[in-house]
């Protein structure tokens, strides 16, 4: 089958410019409303539950999940679905343990919550290290993915693609802050859900709207094993380790956690997780149909001919069922997806730099509002420049493992400290520091020693650490270190303020006057 993929596609360029124009108009509108730090980081706390649900879904459904999972399913069938499911099951954990405490206890970053009843400086520094590590690895994966993808989709050079993504994204964040970033996420989420649904329907029309007929057809063409677990999950320990990191990592991703500050109260935070889980679950169920659809309609060989990893399966499927115009639309949606996710990441990195490190550590919480606002914007520019630089430095590198690494650090560094701080009275400053630093650096070290780096990237025969993902070791380790160190370093203030924190957690910040 021939494809127009890789040559400039008029429809793709039209839809891409349409998206950029609409989002820049939104940014202009948002910029006029972004007058303070509270607007810049938290959209003035004016976002509704449905809007925030869509924005959370937008932040979470990256190009990796749209193109990557559809591609994985199209090549290996059932095994790809394991990722679809792993990426969803963290959301109930966010709902039960994180969303409402975060909204009631913090202002702009998750460190606000961890540091709530502890000593600010040491906790903020440790939390900022964890945040910046997660954001950096996630950004590298997104930027390198963006460069390659745009090269394939639009036929423009890698470096140009990186610079375009960096420039447009920086415009959103710098001028429009969280309000613009939120609306970019909403537009992108609606486009992605709508595009995926349309594509799935156009596939199902050929199978009398019956997904089972599609799956049966795939089994006929490529053997019954495409509907069964294959070699992807060979070792149960490996599977558990990846699973626990995907699940708890979701509840520790700084750009996701930051979204809970954009809503007016805890109840809205709760509503927004319900919407987000509904949309994300629906989207991942659609990937079942897109993946098997590409397998049957496009075929293994045609998918692999364009990209060995299968990443172009969804665009190829769009071309096969809807022609060049539909391919252009899906390509532009993928581009929009990357732009939006990168903007969200940059904003959360900027918040860690300016709100946590500058305002609360360097200036000990005493910086005047105009200075905070200025530093926030400087940090956003810095974040944008760094992400463009990272994208160019890592050109051609195998960075697929970096998404897994970001989830592993988020699950090991951020999640345990967050949960212990909110729910465990004896938790102390030293305990929090130890838990976050051990979580970050043990995850980094074990990934370096794992087969992922040693065998896949460096080409060694064996690896000193047997698991591909360190979560099974580093998450319990981080909890354990946090608890043991806390018990060894009792802190009366932290324990005394636990009651006051519980009061605010349940009754909300406005009930602070006891």
């Amino acid at each position: 089958m021939s494809t127009s993929l890789g040559s400039p596609n008029v429809a793709a360029i039209f839809f891409f410019f349409l998206f950029v124009s609409v989002t820049l108009v939104i940014t202009y509108w948002a910029a006029r409303r972004t007058r303070s730090t509270e607007h810049f980081y938290a959209a003035g706390r004016s976002v509704t539950g449905l809007q925030n649900g869509l924005a959370l879904a937008g932040d979470y459904m990256s190009a990796a999940s749209f193109l990557g999972i559809a591609g994985l399913v199209s090549l290996s069938g059932f095994d790809g679905l394991i990722y679809s499911i792993g990426f969803l099951v963290g959301w109930p954990v966010v709902m039960f343990l994180i969303a409402e405490p975060l909204r009631n206890l913090g202002r702009y970053t998750f460190s606000d919550v961890v540091a709530y009843r502890l000593r600010q400086t040491p906790v903020r520094i440790a939390a900022a290290i964890g945040t910046l590590a997660v954001v950096t690895f996630y950004l590298i994966a997104q930027m390198v993915g963006a460069g390659n993808l745009i090269k394939l989709l639009f036929g423009i050079p890698y470096e140009w693609a990186i610079v375009i993504v960096g420039a447009v994204m920086m415009a959103y964040v710098l001028f429009g802050g969280m309000l613009a970033t939120t609306w970019v996420q909403i537009v992108k989420a609606v486009l992605l859900l709508g595009g995926a649904l349309l594509l799935a329907l156009m596939v199902l029309v050929r199978f009398s709207m019956n997904p089972l007929a599609l799956f049966a057809n795939a089994a006929e063409l490529f053997g019954a094993e495409v509907l069964a677990p294959g070699q992807l999950v060979a070792d149960p320990l490996d599977a558990l380790s990846l699973g626990i990191a995907l699940m708890l990592g979701t509840a520790g991703l700084p750009h996701i956690l930051m979204r809970f500050y954009t809503v007016p109260d805890a109840k809205t935070a709760r509503t927004s997780v319900s919407y987000a889980t509904a949309f994300i679950g629906f989207f991942y169920l659609l990937t079942f149909i897109l993946g098997f659809g590409a397998m049957v309609i496009v075929g293994h060989d045609a998918i692999k001919a364009v990209d060995k990893g299968g990443n172009m399966a969804a665009p190829l499927l769009a071309e096969a069922v809807g022609g060049e115009g539909f391919l252009g639309f899906i390509a532009a949606v993928a581009f929009a997806t990357i732009l939006a996710v990168v903007a969200g990441l940059t904003l959360s990195g900027a918040a860690a730099l300016s709100h946590d490190l500058w305002v609360n550590v360097v200036r000990a919480g005493k910086a005047p509002e105009h200075e905070q606002f200025l530093v926030a914007r400087v940090a956003a520019v810095l974040g944008g420049l760094v992400s463009v630089a990272l994208g160019i430095v890592f050109k051609g590198e195998n960075v697929a493992y970096m998404v897994g690494l970001a989830f592993a650090i988020a699950a090991s560094a951020n999640f345990p400290a967050l949960v212990l701080s909110v729910f465990w009275r004896p938790f102390t400053t030293r305990g929090a520091q130890a838990s976050m630093l051990v979580g970050t650096f043990s995850a980094l070290l074990l990934i370096f020693l794992s087969p992922t780096i040693q065998v896949t990237v460096l080409g060694q025969a064996t690896a000193p650490f047997p698991l591909k993902d360190p979560g099974l070791v580093t998450i319990p380790l981080s909890f354990l270190v946090g608890m043991v160190v806390s018990l060894l370093t009792p802190e009366k203030d932290a324990s005394d303020r636990f009651d006051q924190m519980q009061h605010r957690l349940h009754l909300g910040p406005e009930a602070d006057q006891v």
Binding site: S84, L88, M95, F96, A219, P229, A239, L240, T277, L505
Partner: protein, 93 residues
Amino acid sequence: MSEKQRALEALAAAQWKLALRLTAAMMAVYFAFILLVAWAKPLLATQLVPGLSLGILLGALVIVAAWILIWIYVRWANSHYDATVTRIRETGR
């Protein structure tokens, strides 16, 4: 300890208990699925009707389970939890 504080602690304990149970339930469902994928490959390959293997069905059901657990929590929080918070705010107990 004031009456208000006692009411608040009871609410916090109830919230924690439910949150912990639901989190454990989600983990149990998900890890059971992962372990079946790792250890019971032939079982999951069984086709219930042509095109629908047990693996695909269970995978979709894990997503449905996440929805159901969230629904249980939201129903409890919207009725019981919110009502108690309002009561404590207004009457102080």
